[in-house]
């Protein structure tokens, strides 16, 4: 059979795709770019409502806010791709930052400048917490939902213990720079977010580890039979999101000049929503850092825009909740019918 015939025969072996006459599928297009398009439309809407929306200052605010939970969302992307979840990210953030603050302010420990000690400590604590989550999940075969649900209250309680529930405030200039400073006009947290997101994307797209994450999420039994050390990869993924939660905690305490036991409250919602709006499925195997970034931006823009419009804070919650459900509903529909 000649090459053309082989090709046609090859296509005949496939299940047919439903495409319009021009070979362009509306559903597939919106599935891929829909969230991004929606983000642009939302920005346009808010800009029309209040021209200050697009001021440099406001954009910097939005991006800085987004960066804090965005950093965690990058890690959560990997977790969700493996069909897991981490409900304890907010509590991890609080515990890590409280511990770091305690270390430099109350315990007087210093390894180099205070910011370095604090950064090292919060990131290390975050990673340790993530390790515990990962080990507990893989060793006891308890669903991650349950272990991190427990973690949510455990680490929140632990952070309350550190200073009797009270905040630890007043850090030096060097530390505060991480939250309020800027590099070439770009706020430092945003720079950190960009670096983390880039790193996350590289891992996802170009590394063995990235492939392994998708494999586990796609078919965990098949992954095991190809010799993958599923438990090790899963534990790593929880360590990553834990580490990034610690990093977010550091950035937040730098920004607010205060580490609080109630920091990061309800962050898990925003983080998971970012990942899911970005196209990941809680069943695992699908999703990516790029989508997560757009999801995170969408949530940030919505919160900010509604505030600028003077909308009651409670309406905000409703609007954001509705958007999350619609985004996932559309994504599910597109997956079923777009192929």
């Amino acid at each position: 059979m000649d090459a053309v015939g082989e090709q046609r025969n090859a296509e005949a072996q496939l299940e047919p795709e439903r495409k319009g006459k021009s070979g362009w599928s509306a559903i597939e297009f919106f599935n891929r770019y829909g969230t991004g398009i929606f983000l642009v439309l939302v920005c346009a809407f808010f800009m029309a409502q209040n021209p200050h929306f697009l001021s440099l200052r406001n954009i910097a605010n939005i991006l800085t806010d987004v960066s804090i939970y965005g950093v965690i969302a990058v890690g959560m992307t990997f977790v969700i791709i493996t069909a897991g979840v981490d409900l304890a990210v907010g509590a991890t953030l609080a515990f890590a930052s409280m511990f770091a603050a305690w270390l430099i302010s109350k315990a007087g420990v210093s390894i180099g400048p205070p910011w370095f000690t604090a950064l090292l400590a919060s990131v290390a604590v975050g990673a340790a917490v993530g390790y515990i989550h990962g080990k507990a999940t893989t060793f006891f075969n308890v669903p991650a939902f349950i272990t991190t649900l427990g973690g949510m209250t455990i680490w929140r309680g632990a952070s309350m213990l550190i200073n009797d529930g009270g905040p630890i405030s007043g850090f030096d200039e060097g530390l505060r720079w991480w939250g309020t400073g800027a590099i070439l006009g770009v706020p430092v947290p945003v720079v950190v977010f960009i670096l983390v997101a880039a790193g996350g994307y590289i891992i996802q797209r170009y590394t063995r580890f990235g492939r392994q994450i998708y494999a586990i999420g796609g078919n965990v039994e098949a992954a095991r039979l190809t010799g993958l050390n599923v438990k090790a990869v899963e534990t790593s993924v929880y360590m990553i999101v834990g580490l990034l939660s610690g990093l977010a905690g550091f950035l937040l305490m730098a920004r607010l000049n205060s580490a609080e036991a109630v920091a990061g409250l309800n962050y898990e919602l925003r983080v998971i929503a970012s990942v899911v709006i970005g196209g990941a499925s809680l069943a695992g195997g699908v999703g990516g850092v790029g989508g997560t970034i757009i999801g995170a931006l969408l949530i940030g823009v919505l919160s900010n825009g509604l505030v600028m419009m003077g909308v009651n804070a409670y309406y905000q919650q409703i609007v954001i909740g509705v958007i999350i459900v619609l985004a996932v509903a559309f994504d599910t529909y597109a997956k079923k019918h777009g192929r």
Binding site: R208, F209, N219, A222, G227
Partner: protein, 511 residues
């Protein structure tokens, strides 16, 4: 005529799946629908089931025209019920609940459990099935689950039952039970459309047949007087036989020895096969067949050899020093063993991922720069290499594997294992659900691998296949090896005896 399909047309973008297909099924008839993969069988079945609408042509049931826009439920209520290869059962629910799903008998708006169990029991008794309607489906064997599917069909008072590969996962004894039920249904005037690649069953069970090839109607007729070879010829348009391709193969050194392996998994899984004191030797450059009925312990032993499961006792020797048993698949792979699993959908393929990703996953270590970054050029070359070697039909290496036909998916999984350059390659049911032409191709690949020095273990429930490819055949029965026979001198009768009765008589092991 119970079912008359005339001039059915169905096109998908770029492909004419059905081009003027006819099919006539009489009442009370077992009718075989034959054709290679890609011939159009599944498309026709989907149209009959109401899952797809034909573009043109007529479908008539009992003289009444069937509306192409019917939903599957409407077709079921009209009396056309389809039993798919992968069952549509809810494992956590009982047999009766599954049978009446969505149509439970109610009284005052609440489910009438008593009536449901009674009616379920009545249907089960009617079919001669010894099943407890209250038992959850997950506690049943695969064969029993299939019976539940048939019982479910009977709750619709089906006139026409379509069975897609009903015996793919059944042992021979269970196939006999299925035959009995099918004949029982036929005697009552129910017609069965029987789709299978096991042509022997067509000769044994079916009354008439319809053959499709490349989306077109080729022939229909009575089964009586036909031989398997005749059917094959109509299906592929050429004479195809399983040729024994073992000539000029030199057996090499001993590479694997299983010594006294035992395993009792019944504590965690009551259906588990108990392995008793199994010992066998495997040599480089040969194909060793594992024959046996379903549940005889072949897959269980293979998984222990590979490291996917643990055994209770016994040792595996793999060259060099004495070995403990392998504790994980990665240890198996590190020791040069590769396994192509039994169920390619559940255990093999990452359906959403590309062919490339599926093929290279375990080999990434060798394809990565600094062990971290995947070298996509090297990856593409590897995929291309195996595409040519195995003649895999795929539009692009980036196509999701879920879109390939079963045969091509199997080839990708084979390539995945071959890329690891294993010393021992174990393939479990390598041609299940694959058409004849692709089967022969896979057999050739396996024998070529043996020729190049690999020790190949082939597990198969199809005797003709095992007899065609194996140098030696180890026969399993209920957790033990009852005999090892030379592939050249084996005949079906001897093998069947060893598989079913376990007579070891004067069969000597080929040294």
């Amino acid at each position: 005529m119970l079912l008359a399909a005339r001039n059915i047309q169905k096109s998908f973008p770029g492909v004419k799946a059905l081009d003027g297909v006819h099919m006539n099924v009489r009442p009370g008839e077992v009718h075989a629908l034959l054709g290679e993969n890609g011939a159009g069988k599944s498309t026709l079945l989907k149209i009959l089931a109401g899952a797809q609408a034909a573009d043109g042509g007529d479908l008539m049931l009992d003289g009444a025209v069937l509306d192409p826009a019917d939903s599957p439920l409407q077709r079921q209520e009209a009396g056309v019920v389809t039993i798919y290869q992968e069952f549509n059962l809810l494992p956590e629910m009982s047999v009766a609940e599954n049978m009446f799903l969505g149509r439970e008998p109610t009284r005052h708006g609440l489910i009438n459990w008593r009536e449901m169990y009674q009616r379920a029991q009545a249907i089960l008794d009617d079919l001669g099935l010894k099943l407890d309607p209250r038992k959850p489906v997950r506690s049943l064997s695969v064969a029993e689950q299939q019976m539940v599917e048939i019982a479910k069909a009977m709750t619709f008072e089906a006139k026409l039952i379509i069975m897609d590969e009903p015996t793919a996962a059944l042992s021979d004894r269970e196939v006999d039970v299925l035959y009995r039920i099918v004949r029982n249904l036929r005697a009552r005037g129910v017609s069965i459309i029987y789709v299978t690649h096991r042509l022997v069953e067509v000769i044994e069970l079916c009354d008439r047949f319809t053959v499709l090839r490349d989306g077109q109607f080729v022939a229909e007729g009575k089964v009586a007087g036909k031989k398997v070879a005749d059917l094959v010829k109509m299906m592929v348009g050429r004479d195809v036989e399983f040729v024994r391709c073992t000539a000029s193969r030199q057996r090499g050194d001993l590479v694997l020895r299983v010594e006294n392996v035992s395993r009792d998994g019944t504590a965690t899984d009551p259906h588990a096969t108990v392995l008793r004191n199994i010992s066998v030797e495997v040599y480089a450059g040969e194909v060793l067949g594992f024959a046996g009925l379903v549940g005889a312990g072949r897959t269980e032993l293979a998984r222990i050899i590979f490291g996917a499961d643990r055994s209770d006792e016994g040792v595996i020797w793999l060259g060099g020093g004495r070995m403990q048993l392998l504790r994980s698949p990665s240890e198996g792979i590190d020791n040069g063993i590769a396994l192509v699993p039994e169920d390619r959908k559940q255990q093999g393929c990452f359906l959403d991922q590309s062919i490339s990703q599926n093929m290279t996953l375990p080999s990434l270590k060798n394809l990565a720069r600094w062990g971290v970054f995947v070298n996509e050029t090297a990856e593409r070359e590897l995929v291309e290499k195996y595409r040519k070697a195995l003649r895999i039909k795929m539009p692009s290496h980036l196509t999701p594997i879920g879109k390939l036909s079963g045969g091509n998916q199997q080839k990708v999984l084979l390539a995945r294992c071959m890329a690891l350059s294993p010393k021992v390659l174990i393939v479990d049911e390598p041609t299940r659900g694959i058409d004849i032409g692709a089967k022969a191709e896979v057999h050739q690949v396996l024998t070529d691998m043996a020729k190049s020095g690999v020790a190949v273990i082939v597990i198969s429930s199809e005797l003709p296949e095992i007899m065609a490819v194996s140098d030696r055949i180890a026969v399993f029965r209920e957790g033990s090896i009852t005999g090892v026979v030379s592939g050249d001198s084996a005949d079906e009768e001897t093998l069947m005896r060893l598989m079913a009765i376990g007579e070891n008589a004067d069969l000597t092991v080929v040294a």
